[in-house]
């Protein structure tokens, strides 16, 4: 029964992990850069959602509209004004330079949040807090259940957007070969901006999904950044399905090993799995065999 409950918990956690990883995966997949501030951006979103919920009595799931738009617009501007510039000027060092830039931006976000909100942990009490649904002998906390469902729906929407819409196709084309798509008349810089905006917007969405049940401090970002990176690498970069499978997989590993052995053991195992995947199949477990230069 313990194991079954752990599996359920793992799936509920994995759903939210998927949208988190999707945010990173799209940015990495499209521009081949790593956004090291994934977690910090998420935390900024969490505080926005927290304020909306506590000060304006908003339903946590309505805050998605705000976090999604605010962070999305911010991501667009950041890419347009800064990251595009770095990519252009850095040449072969674009990857490391953008990583360091976003790491610096992450420090800035964390310290600003610390100055505004202090170091203590806060959590939003919503109408969903503390309620849970009994499924046979198992318990599913209501906020986690709703968040997981929304996460899965959102991931599906992103999948269809990326694969069926004209814009999504253009973004994917840019990720495959930037120069050729430019010859086809696609504005690759704009695609970068849109890709980064989607990535930030998804982090905003994830923040709203976490706010009903996750205690917030300015420092939780780093662990989320790591989670996202691990999931993306395990699932396959720039691969929407990969983010879902990777998210579910890591969620399950954490919860099952956590309940059977210990949480710290689960964390070590997650990192070990990550290194093994990196060494054996760096293109990700879910990706098709493609030869990449």
């Amino acid at each position: 029964m313990l194991v079954l409950q752990a599996i359920l918990d793992g799936i509920l956690l994995g759903g939210v992990y998927s949208t988190l990883a999707l945010g990173l995966s799209i940015a990495y997949g499209v521009m081949h850069i790593i956004n090291w501030s994934t977690g910090q951006t998420l935390v900024a979103g969490l505080y926005i959602a927290y304020i909306l919920v506590t000060k304006h009595n908003m339903d946590p799931y309505v805050t998605i509209l705000f976090t999604f738009t605010i962070l999305g617009a911010f991501g667009f501007l950041m890419q347009k004004t800064m990251i595009n510039r770095i990519i252009e000027r850095s040449g072969y060092r674009a990857g490391p330079n953008v990583l360091l830039f976003t790491a610096g931006y992450g420090y800035v976000v964390t310290s600003i949040l610390e100055m505004i909100f202090g170091t203590l942990s806060v959590s939003a009490t919503t109408r969903y807090t503390g309620k849970s649904l009994a499924i046979g002998p198992l318990y599913a906390p209501v906020p986690k259940l709703i968040s997981c469902i929304i996460a899965v729906v959102a991931t599906a929407i992103v999948y269809f957007f990326m694969h069926k819409s004209e814009l999504g196709r253009a973004i994917r084309a840019t990720s495959q070969d930037r120069n050729t798509t430019r010859l086809m008349g696609i504005n690759s810089k704009l695609m970068y901006c849109i890709g980064f905006a989607i990535s930030f917007a998804l982090l905003g969405l994830t923040a709203s999904l976490l706010v009903p049940y996750y205690p917030i401090t300015p420092y939780i970002g780093t662990s989320f950044s790591f989670k996202a990176l691990i999931i993306v690498v395990i699932g396959g970069v720039g691969n929407v399905k990969g983010a879902i499978y990777g998210g579910m997989f890591i969620g399950l590993v954490e919860k099952i090993l956590g309940s059977l052995v210990s949480d710290s053991f689960a964390q070590v195992m997650v990192f070990c799995l990550f290194i093994i995947v990196l060494l054996v199949k760096p293109e990700g477990l879910m990706s098709k065999r493609t030869s990449k230069a």
Binding site: M82, S90, L99, F101, A103, Y105, S264, F274
Partner: protein
């Protein structure tokens, strides 16, 4: 004449370095000076790997930790003095780096950086959560204390000033070594790998061998620094040595000053560490965030405006001055061709 000119900055460093303790009277300032010099040292060690060879390792803190723990365990349980312990620690870290490097070098670009960070996190998690490692008590979150003997033979020096001279000596050694490497055949192999790994391989450079060499050298120096670092505190714990901040700091200082140059890492650390220290004091507890805000802003601004670091930016300015008077076209060409040929 040229060799003489080269030694002028080194001479300035040594002379200024030796006179610093006569100006800084208090213990606090001496501790800050130790931080400045040890960060210069770590940034220079990273430069051999990240600058010259272009392997963007982000988890080099792991070698600080390994160096620190090996020295501590050898001293606490076997009574081996840290003077010998730090060399053993360096060799252990070097060996570890080769063992790690061998599979990891199959990975290219960002994957290599990711693997190096992941590895450091594994070490941090293990050392922080397990009380014993391979049956040796390392204290987990409580850390490990060095027994106090107060003997110089056990690297327990009487004052901060002595420790300062010790790290200064280490810095001079790593700089002399970097300079030697830079102008040696090995150094040219390193740079060929950075410029274009495949082309280097096709010209007969044993890429794997030289990558591992760079890894070993960098890990060795980093670990020796870690050994001395914890000996100044007579205490080691996982958060202190395996932290992400330490690893990121050495990369930041190196790139800020100018990666792939001898003096870049020194300049980077000289600029940033005093600012951090001063902010930590001036801002107090309630504004502790200010120091990390400045740190983050510096990182962002450098990446935006000086991707080659301070020295790189200065060099480019000089080059532009020279060419602009001759022909504007030439300047455009050097700008466009800065990709691989900007060094030296």
């Amino acid at each position: 004449m040229k060799t003489l000119k080269k030694f002028i900055p080194m001479a300035i460093l040594i002379v200024v370095g030796l006179f610093v303790p006569t100006v800084l009277k208090s213990q606090f300032y001496m501790q800050s000076a130790i931080y400045v010099v040890i960060y210069m040292y770590w940034a220079s060690s990273w430069n051999i790997l990240g600058g010259y060879t272009g392997l963007f390792a982000l988890g080099n803190g792991v070698y600080i930790g390994v160096g620190a723990y090996v020295t501590a365990v050898l001293f606490v349980y076997c009574g081996i003095t840290p003077w010998i312990g730090m060399i053993i620690a360096g060799l252990v870290a070097g060996l570890l780096s080769v063992l790690i490097g061998y599979p990891v070098f199959k990975l290219k670009g960002m994957y290599y950086s990711l693997a190096s960070i992941a590895l450091m996190s594994v070490f941090e998690l293990i050392f922080n959560n397990e009380m014993e490692i391979f049956g040796v008590y390392t204290g987990g979150p409580n850390g490990l204390r060095f027994p106090v003997t107060g003997r110089a033979l056990d690297m327990q020096l009487s004052s901060k000033t002595s420790y300062y001279y010790l790290v200064l000596a280490l810095l001079v050694i790593v700089l002399l070594f970097s300079d030697y490497i830079q102008n040696s055949k090995t150094g040219f192999y390193f740079r060929s790998i950075r410029a274009n790994q495949d082309a280097a391989a096709s010209l007969g450079v044993n890429v794997l061998k030289y990558k591992l060499t760079a890894h070993f050298i960098s890990a060795f120096f980093t670990a020796v620094g870690g050994a001395v670092y914890v000996t100044t505190f007579l205490y080691v714990n996982a958060k202190q040595v395996f932290g992400m901040d330490l690893s990121f700091s050495m990369v930041l200082f190196c790139i800020l000053g100018g990666a792939n140059t001898l003096w870049g890492p020194v300049i980077g650390a000289l600029l940033m560490v005093p600012i951090q220290q001063a902010l930590r004091v001036a801002a107090g507890v309630e504004l502790a965030a200010l120091s990390s805000l400045i740190y983050g802003l510096a990182l962002c601004l450098v990446m935006l405006f000086m991707p080659d670091g301070l020295l790189g930016a200065i060099k480019k300015l000089i080059a532009k001055r020279k060419t602009a008077t001759v022909a504007p076209l030439a300047a455009a060409v050097t700008d466009a061709g800065q990709g691989g040929a900007e060094d030296e």
